[in-house]
Symmetry: C2
Subunit: 392 residues, 2 copies
């Protein structure tokens, strides 16, 4: 197996090469990562909107430093653990993008006491009440964004329910700071036609704008109008009135994004390096040492037009073998096989051969690993292992 696309001398990672690294392990293609980030930043610059990268996928300060518009942020996080980790590394502008529970206010205040402008998210009067009471008790006005629902999928106040929106705003401002509104168009992940994705992006924007206008019209402040998902960020054409976009999955990309149409196979920066540990050619199976523990149980492509099992099997250059997918997994076993109905021939992968698996869902696959091993950006690039934070 040759290594056509990379310089042989650059493959020494922490003393090991891509041929000798213990498998399974998580590879990150630094060149593609940088290209994906540069593309998104240029796109958002053209749209005249700020960028608050979501770090829930990467969970790495090294990736964050490539994505952030300044060393101190802004960023979006999905757990208090991420907030603490990024605060440890000098990030001071964060939104904790998951609905706030009262028991989380004490750790939020502890993080804010480190000169971090950490804002929380909520969508109910109960939460606003708890937050305002906590703020009055602590003598600090914690900033909060009201989550607005664009698609009925999960959380958020309906933009067509101004009464609830204003009631939350009133309750919130009895102690806390109303920072603005926040929308996530989660339903965009079910789409795959550019026209539909543009409509989803418009709906996400409009939900945010309607809510912001309701607040401002009633005399409330609304300095931040925040939207974001990778599919809508890719397909939006107009973000007039929006102040910032949160997106994160685009940095690595995955097969789910390819199925949506928001990324191409050649954009995908994340893969799992695996070794062939068994084969049964009569049954068309090649067994690899990347099972669901290394790939995750995520089957996002199962509901898309092309079901790619637990991932596409590629050679060490990242070139997919025709129709070869990880068809099934156990904890530490992956079963590589041709897709049903394929007329391709099964590649003859000997025991000990190495392959790379492109995952369904970068967030889920990366979460199974403690660190990234970097495929370097060029011959002179530093070789590195980038740790991830985890837990809550």
């Amino acid at each position: 197996m040759t290594l056509r696309s990379l310089e042989q001398e650059t493959l020494v990672l922490n003393g090991a090469t891509i041929e000798t690294l213990r498998t399974p392990c998580l590879l990150l293609d630094q060149r593609r990562l940088s290209t994906n980030i540069a593309g998104m930043r240029a796109r958002l610059d053209r749209l005249g909107v700020g960028f608050r990268p979501h770090l829930k996928t990467a969970k790495s300060i090294d990736v964050a430093r490539l994505a952030m518009t300044s060393p101190s942020g802004p960023i979006t996080v999905s757990t208090l653990r991420e907030a603490e980790y990024f605060a440890d590394h000098g990030v001071t502008d964060m939104i904790y993008g998951v609905g706030m529970a009262p028991a989380k206010l004490e750790p939020v205040s502890a993080i804010r006491a480190r000169n971090v402008d950490l804002a929380v998210v909520l969508d109910s009067i109960e939460q606003a009440d708890a937050l305002a009471a906590h703020c009055r008790q602590q003598g600090e006005a914690i900033p909060a964004l009201i989550e607005v629902d664009a698609d009925g999928r999960r959380s958020g106040v309906s933009p067509t329910d101004p009464g609830l929106l204003l009631a939350i705003a009133r309750q919130l401002t009895s102690g806390a700071e109303l920072r603005g509104v926040l929308v996530h168009a989660g339903a965009s992940y079910d789409l795959n036609r550019p026209d539909d994705l543009m409509i989803a992006a418009d709906s996400e924007r409009d939900a945010a704008l309607v809510a912001a206008r309701t607040l401002v019209g009633a005399g409330f402040p609304c300095p931040v109008v925040s939207v974001g998902s990778t599919p809508t960020a890719r397909f939006t054409r107009d973000l007039d009135g929006i102040t910032e976009v949160r997106a994160g999955a685009f940095m690595f990309g995955d097969l789910c994004q390819v199925g949506i149409g928001s990324m191409a196979i050649d954009d995908l920066a994340l893969s799992v390096l695996a070794t062939v540990i068994g084969r049964n050619r009569s049954q068309g199976r090649t067994i690899i040492d990347a099972g669901w523990m290394a790939l995750s149980r995520d089957r996002s492509t199962a509901r898309q037009v092309v079901d790619l099992g637990y991932g596409m099997v590629c050679d060490l250059d990242g070139e997919p073998y025709a129709d070869l997918i990880v068809a099934d997994t156990n904890q530490e076993h992956g079963v590589a096989a041709l897709r049903a109905g394929s007329s391709a021939s099964l590649p003859d992968l000997a025991i000990g051969s190495r392959v790379r698996i492109l995952p369904n869902h970068a967030c889920a696959t990366a979460a199974q690993h403690q660190a990234y091993r970097l495929l370097p950006a060029g011959p002179s690039a530093a070789l590195a292992e980038w740790p991830r934070c985890s837990g809550w």
Copy 2:
């Protein structure tokens, strides 16, 4: 919410109580764990067979010490990292139960150099050839078990292919030690009728016995005849000729095992503690802070008679709410809702309420966490956090 089944004063875990622990986190019911282990050991004692617990689910020396028949083992592991971790904690008798790749022989030798009797598994002439060559070069006879296939599901030599079995044995013994045969009846996980499970257990046993007789009949040693899965270990009636059973998932149990019929809801020792962070009663949704990051993406019950989504929602005592499941997840959001067609009423869980989620698949859910928080076995029991090992 009361805590009927546990003494209130025993709930202080590392200074936090089940009411104040940061969520989501992984709870382990020590009483159920101990009962499950005692039950399996008594059962295997009655069957007159040895027990080599599989630690791939628990990945914890504390759990291992409850399950092992001696402080030094024997155990089964699924990764080299587990082998290193358990060796660090004094375990000296292990089978690395996943097919061996040539590049893994060097770390295997390094672990064995620490006076650990670590055996490997293989099912091909190529692997036997690589192992024997490594052994001759190292001047040590590494023990190996030949994996035998009971159900055509994944790996292993067919027991009806004595030619291949003997060819592997010959190649292997040109440098390595033939330790025996090993079978895992993975297809038992697709069953749910006791009669079928007994047949699967018999098939697993018979595959091992046929292969062992082939080897012994040709003059090869076969001291170990190893079988194991939680469903077959629960339903087997006769293991005459088998020397040891490997099983591990039974220690914690999960909803998949309940669907199979190999465990009951009241046996389940593992749950995820979560907090309500949102609700939308008009749409029948309660949002909790346990998404797929805390529960895993595993959907094992989806292919069973009763699909329980991403898990059953219980109160703090572990009592399930009628028909309430985690119907959908995002990374840090779980959507609790009634099962389709349910006539139960949605419990009124306020923001900040705490619930426990029984998972589909204990191995996958535990893998999302770095440690167990123990629900103690009794008022005087030590309170503890048990770490897990992870990675490869």
